[in-house]
Structure formats: C-alpha cells, structure tokens
C-alpha cells in the first residue's frame, strides 16, 4: 500500500540558525533544518493554506517529506511547542513580553492561542 505523501514548510531565511522560529501569523514553529509538517502536531494548516503561506512568505518553502523524516519532524515539533510554552511563561514573568508585546502575541499565536 502506498504511503500518503506528506508536506512541510521549510524556513529559507538566509543563514537562519537551526532553531525554532516564529512566522506570524502561522501556527507552530519553522526551522531551516527540519520541516514544519502540514497536519503535524497541533498544526491547523491545510495543504492549500500551506501552499498559500509559501507563496506569501518569501522565507518559507513547501517541500515533500518522507515518512521517516515526518516522524522525526513530529518529534521536533512537539519538543519545540513544549519549549515554546515554557518560554512564553518565562517572558511573561521576567518582563520581556511587556516590552515586546507584539512578538509575545505572535509567539502565543504560534503555540495555539495560549495568550
């Protein structure tokens, strides 16, 4: 039985570090090294929306993802989302959210409305 093809969005921002990035107003995190899986953990994007996102954001590219890579990408996404929620709580505590409210809101949106 053929495995269903999966897609993901790769961050193509030049020289971006291999770490999670926020691309407002899209959900989740985006990396240059691991694709953000369409329909991955907590991801609401449809393939059509992902195509649109790649068209609208010059720093994203839609790629096909092999099943093996998809599994690894899911693990990374879960890790990034958990770290993101913890960090959001930290910046609200230490005041960084206060001096950059739009960025904190973008991040809250990225981790699914934890705002």
């Amino acid at each position: 039985m053929a495995t269903k093809k999966r897609h993901g969005l790769i961050l193509t921002l030049g020289g971006a570090p291999a770490s999670p990035h926020v691309v407002s107003p899209l959900p989740g995190y985006y990396r240059p090294d691991v694709p953000h899986l369409v329909g991955g953990p907590e991801d609401d994007l449809t393939l059509a929306e992902a195509r649109e996102a790649a068209k609208n954001h010059d720093i994203l590219e839609l790629v096909e993802v092999t099943p093996a890579d998809a599994e690894a990408a899911e693990a990374v996404a879960e890790q990034d989302l958990a770290a993101g929620r913890n960090a959001l709580a930290d910046v609200r505590r230490d005041g960084r959210a206060g001096d950059s409210p739009s960025r904190a809101k973008d991040e809250a949106d990225a981790v699914k409305g934890d705002g």
């Binding site: 961050l11 921002l13 030049g14 020289g15 971006a16 570090p17 291999a18 770490s19 999670p20 990035h21 926020v22 691309v23 407002s24 107003p25 995190y29 985006y30 609208n56 954001h57 010059d58 720093i59 994203l60 990034d80 770290a83 993101g84 913890n86 960090a87 959001l88 930290d90 910046v91 230490d94 005041g95 960084r96 001096d99 950059s100 739009s102 960025r103 904190a104 973008d106 991040e107 990225a110």
Partner: protein, 342 residues
C-alpha cells in the same frame, strides 16, 4: 501581528545612494527593543545674505548625514551578527566533538563556534557595513539604510532585564523605499538572551569582589563625501584617519576596595580577563549557547576608590582597556546554532 521589523544584512562593500552591494546570505531580523534611524537633514540656510528681507529665507535641501542606533538584548544569533558587523568576518568552525570554546569545553556537532580575534576589521580603508530594511508596517512607511557602519557597541549585563547591546554608527544612505515585502521571522522565545545569571568574570587575581562588568567596542569610522558621485549623502565609509584601531575597553566596578587593584592601576599591570556568558538554553548534546570575551592583557586605565564616608564597606570604580604587546589582544567568541555569518 507584528507592527514592524528591521532586517539586517552585511554588504559586500559600503552601499551608498547609487551602488548596489551584494548582501550577505545571512539575514537577521533582530528582536529589537528599538532602532532609531536618522536621516540627518541639514538644509541650507541663507539668512546671512543681504537681500533687504528681514525674515528667514526658505531653506533648501543641501545634505543628509544618516545615522542609526539600535538597542537589542544579547541573543546568541544577534550577537554573532553585530560582532561580524563591527569586528569583521569571524573564523567559523563547526563543532565536531573535538574543538573547544574559550572556556575549554568541547563543542559538539550542530553547534558552531564563531571566533573574532584582534586585530579586528577588514583589511583596506573601509569598515564592514550593513543594509538595514526598516518597516513601520502599520503606517505603511518603509526605509532603507545602506552603508551602515557600527562605530560603537556597548554590552551591559545588568541584574534585571537581560544583557543589553547598544550599537550605533553613521550610514551612507537612508531614505524611504516601497514595501520590500519581507516576512519577518524571529528565533523562538525558547532561545533566551544572555543575562546576569549567565555571566562570570574572574577579574584580577587577588582583586576586590566584582560588582559589574561593562564592555565597549569603539570602531572609529567616518562617512565622507569624496565627490565620486553627485549626491546629498556621503558616498564613502572609511576607517577614521585619526581614530586609531578598534579598541575594546570597559568598566569593572568593585564591591570591595582592594590594594591589589589599586596597585595594578598604578603600575598598569596587565592581567587576563575572561568574561563568559553561558546560556540556560541548549544548542545540542547538552552544550549551551555561549559567548566569551577574552582580553589577553587587560589593564586598568582609570579608577578611584569610593569616597571615604560613613559606610560599612567601600568599593572602587575602574575602567579597563584590552591591550597587547604583540598581537591578539582581544578575542570574542559566540557559540550558537548559526552555521555561517557570510
């Protein structure tokens, strides 16, 4: 939604009003606290002309002298970019489980060591410069700065608010542009800036307990009008002829007055200074983001004990400068997840 952004890229040569330098592959949207662009309009006033008019005459555009000033927290990727602007191209080495950082720890795969060693700056007459694309998105105003050099960078690590960097300098061009259509992207908040709890600075052996550590880089540059092009802007960014080399200096106030420090100030005794910022966030294999500054031969150049007063203890204030008798006075190092600043 973001209300604005700035994108920074290093230029292949200082950009001015008419040229189009190649930009570095590395682009950064710094998580700004602020970025102040100033075009520096200096219109021609003709009020000194005898025209039998007893009112100010209309001014006309004559020259622009752009400057920029940025305030941002010391995030690992941002520091690599700012250092590569003011200090020059780093020597980047990928972690391989063998190479070590300035603290002596082995750097694993997927972490990258960016080392900046004095003498700093590119060879030739010009400093490194950057292009800055600024978007006041809500207002629909977009600016572009070209030929932006960093003449000063200061790094403070206060007890609250995270390590803070301020950088500023002149630029060769700053004007409005049409919407560049860029999508900003920021490293997740899970990559924190360096902060006070990350910092250790063993100072002069036997000296008083350190209260604080401030660092400043001065890169003397000047924006000149060399008549190469017809422009109201300067056209060339040069290293300042009278400014001397790039100097790293700073302050190191002491909680306790100690005769060892006073004697070192009097005798201009050199000592090794190693400031280490070790983040709480991990890059790979348990290895955290790090930043180092090492002065092979720091010297106190100014200082005074606190005024004698009715206090339970007295401290002292010192300024230091990184100097050398041969080469390699100062080394900066950032270890992060960025593969290259080229």
């Amino acid at each position: 939604m973001p209300t604005g952004y700035a994108r920074m890229a290093i230029e292949s040569q200082p950009g001015n009003e008419v040229n189009t330098p190649t930009l570095s592959t590395k682009k950064l949207f710094p998580p700004l606290q602020s970025l102040q662009p100033t075009r520096g309009e200096s219109p021609l006033s003709r009020d000194d002309e005898l025209r039998n008019v007893d009112e100010p005459l209309a001014v006309i555009p004559e020259s622009y002298s752009p400057t920029w000033e940025m305030s941002v927290r010391a995030y690992p990727d941002t520091m690599g970019m700012l250092f590569s602007l003011i200090l020059g191209v780093p020597t980047t080495t990928a972690g391989d489980g063998i190479i070590t950082d300035l603290g002596g720890s082995v750097i694993p795969t997927n972490a990258y060591r960016h080392r900046f060693t004095a003498p700093f700056g590119p060879s030739g007459p010009s400093p490194r410069t950057a292009q800055l694309d600024l978007a006041y998105a809500d207002q629909g105003v977009y600016l572009k700065a070209k030929g932006a050099a960093a003449s000063d960078l200061t790094l403070e690590t206060p007890e609250q608010g995270g390590a803070n960097v301020k950088a500023n300098g002149p630029a060769l061009y700053l004007d409005e542009q049409s919407d560049p259509g860029l999508s900003p992207s920021y490293e997740a908040l899970s990559i924190p800036p360096f902060f006070r709890g990350n910092l250790t600075v063993p100072g002069l052996a036997g000296g008083g307990a350190t209260q604080d550590f401030g660092l400043s880089i001065n890169n003397p540059v000047e924006a000149l009008r060399t008549l190469g092009i017809a422009s109201l802007y300067p056209d060339t960014m040069f290293k300042d002829n009278d400014g001397g080399p790039i100097v790293v200096s700073g302050t190191m106030p002491k909680e306790l007055l100690d005769s060892t420090d006073l004697a070192a100030l009097k005798a201009a005794t050199g000592f090794e200074l190693l400031a280490s910022w070790v983040s709480t966030a991990i890059i790979a294999s348990g290895y955290p983001y790090k930043m180092f500054f090492k002065a092979a031969n720091a010297q106190y150049v100014e200082g005074t004990p606190d005024a004698l007063a009715n206090k339970r203890r007295h401290g002292a204030s010192y300024s230091w400068k990184s100097t050398t008798t041969s080469s390699g006075s100062s080394t900066f190092e950032v270890v992060n997840a960025t593969a290259s600043y080229a």
